[in-house]
Amino acid sequence: MNRIFTSAALGASVLIVSAVACGLQQPDLKNLSGSIKIDGSSTVYPITTAVDEAIREAGSRIKVTVGLSGTGGGFKRFVVGETDISNASRPITKDEVEAAKKNSVDFIELPVAYDGLSIVVNKSNDFVDYLTMVDIKKIFGAEAPAKTWSEVRSDWPNAPIKVFSPGTDSGTFDYFKEVVVGKEGKIRSDMQVSEDDNVLVTGVARDKNAIGFFGYAYLMENQDKLKVVPVDAGKGPITPTHQTIESGEYAPFSRPLFIYVNKKSAERPEVKAFVDFYLANGPKIVEEVRYVKLPAAITERAKANWAKLRTGTQYLNDKGEKVSGPLSKVYN
């Protein structure tokens, strides 16, 4: 209780500080020039570009470029100091942190939105009511993968399962894999794989026995073509919606999206103005591009960390071990 109170108080004070900071900054947004280089995840790309669009509408003349190298590819450029900001659909890894350290690149980790990995089946599939984590592992895991629906649950029809998955290099696939089969496990290899999520949408929409997964934005755009499957991770079946993703109920498939800012770049006025704007207007923009905004408390923590330029990742502990868990527990 006490902790909640202090964090709320901290949040409120940060809100005031940042509001004042924004108030001071807004007028000279027009006088800022210079350029910001951004690269990384294709999942975060729509948010970052929408933020740039909004800041340009507010009069900014900062030249922003955004690449689509994927989370890993983006970090490769970020840790050598080639980019100012890296978009990421998963936290930075130990290897990437070490590479950054070697090139003396310090960074600030800022969560910006939630995405809910959504599991979908064909519209005419009337037997799948929900899936438990065990069911999902049976369908997607490499260990004894189910060939037919009846192998998942015996009262389901004896029809072959057709599995659709995003590309194995994507942050989306990485996240899904880790949740379903753990770090060491493997996802089955006899899937239809595509880097283009629209291909997965069409694939599942066409095949009566298909199942697939992708980001929440693709589900929102194709609700009329697909049937979303509620996931039971121990607390009853939960459907991915704005509310369940934001509240964390849709664990473990709600995942945070991040931006990482190079500390040296953060000292430049245009980068500072851009990230200030990102954090201040992020929640509204995130909803516009069909992602889910973070709970206010977490946004306030991010603003606080940005204000004091707190470096490093919170997804590795002091011993360099990976920390996992919901964003609200890990990030502070």
Binding site: E53, K63, V64, V289
Partner: protein, 319 residues
């Protein structure tokens, strides 16, 4: 002549085979035309609705209705101009050297043949390989003079139109030079063909009248070969403007809201922009992608029409 050896039955079969062959050819031709018609038709239906003047001026946007191809189109134009300036003189020069200055010494001739073989092979190398080569050589310059953030040599500042730096970084010039590598073999081979088509009698006449080899090339061979060289070069440029793979490696960005101001400036090109739109979740963006394809196709067709025009305009009987 005695034609008695051919029986009427065999003649019938020969004629039947002939007819069959013609029909097969027609089916083949109409199938490829049909595929083209379906492709063009579906793209026009999807994309025409979004095509207006502002599409050429607007920058990428999160809202499909406001998205435009401006920066990508200018990026393509800048990169292709840089590519043409690098590839055409080099390519035509190499072709002249290979065709007009055939060495006599046996070991030089072997070197000459080796060069020729390599150029033919290079024409078949996938373009992504050139992209990676360009990244190492042009963008990073092997990392010997600083890195792209901290260039070892600069001239002017990024605000000047003549700004130059080494290594080149992920800019227009690096992109243009990489594309030049991709199309260079095509330009060389096309120019060689054009030069080879010039009859030797012209060369002999020039040399017999006391012209030097430079005068002969400058005044006889090259003018006669210009239509062929131009056709090949413009087709090579059409290829350059449609290349996505090497540009993905070099440019590395797809979201950009400004047009290049100098040769070191960042850029994106039309194929990358189209690819990006096609992969977005909103179906409206797939229509925007189709509009982008219309613009790209229009530019390509203009290039090809120009090639045909130049060939018609300059082609004159040689005798």
């Amino acid at each position: 002549m005695n034609r008695g050896a051919y029986q009427p039955r065999s003649r019938m079969r020969r004629l039947l085979k002939d007819r069959l062959f013609v029909i097969l050819c027609m089916i083949g031709a109409s199938l490829s035309l049909l595929a083209l018609a379906i492709l063009l038709g579906s793209i026009l239906i999807q994309g025409l609705g979004h095509l207006d003047l502002s599409f050429f001026k607007d920058v990428p946007s999160a809202k499909p209705a406001k998205a435009g191809i401006g920066p990508a189109m200018w990026g393509s134009i800048w990169v292709c101009a840089a590519c043409a300036l690098a590839a055409l003189p080099l390519g035509v020069g190499t072709a002249i050297f290979l065709e007009e200055f055939k060495p006599k010494k046996p070991w030089v001739r072997r070197l000459h043949g080796f060069l020729q073989l390599n150029i033919t092979n290079l024409a078949g190398v996938p373009s992504i390989v050139y992209g990676i080569l360009g990244l190492t050589v042009f963008v990073q310059l092997f990392g010997i003079v600083g890195n792209t953030n901290d260039p070892g040599f600069t001239f002017g500042s990024p605000d000047n139109w003549y700004y130059f730096q080494l290594p080149l970084g992920r800019g227009v010039l690096a992109g243009g030079l990489t594309l030049a590598l991709v199309v260079l073999p095509i330009v060389i081979i096309a120019s060689q063909e054009a030069l080879r088509a010039v009859p030797d009698s012209l060369r002999e006449a020039a040399l017999a009248s006391g012209a030097t080899r430079w005068q002969m090339i400058r005044q006889m061979t090259l003018p006669a070969a210009v239509p062929g060289i131009m056709t090949g070069s413009i087709l090579a440029m059409s290829r350059a403007i449609g290349e996505a793979a090497p540009m993905l490696v070099i440019a590395g960005v797809v979201y950009i809201t400004f047009t290049p101001q100098h040769l070191m400036d960042e850029f994106t090109v039309m194929p990358l922009q189209i690819y990006n739109w096609a992969g977005l979740p909103q179906t409206e963006f797939h229509k925007v992608a189709a509009t982008g394809i219309i613009v790209l196709l229009a530019v390509l067709l203009t290039f090809n029409a120009l090639a045909v025009f130049i060939r018609q305009r300059f082609q004159q009987p040689l005798q």
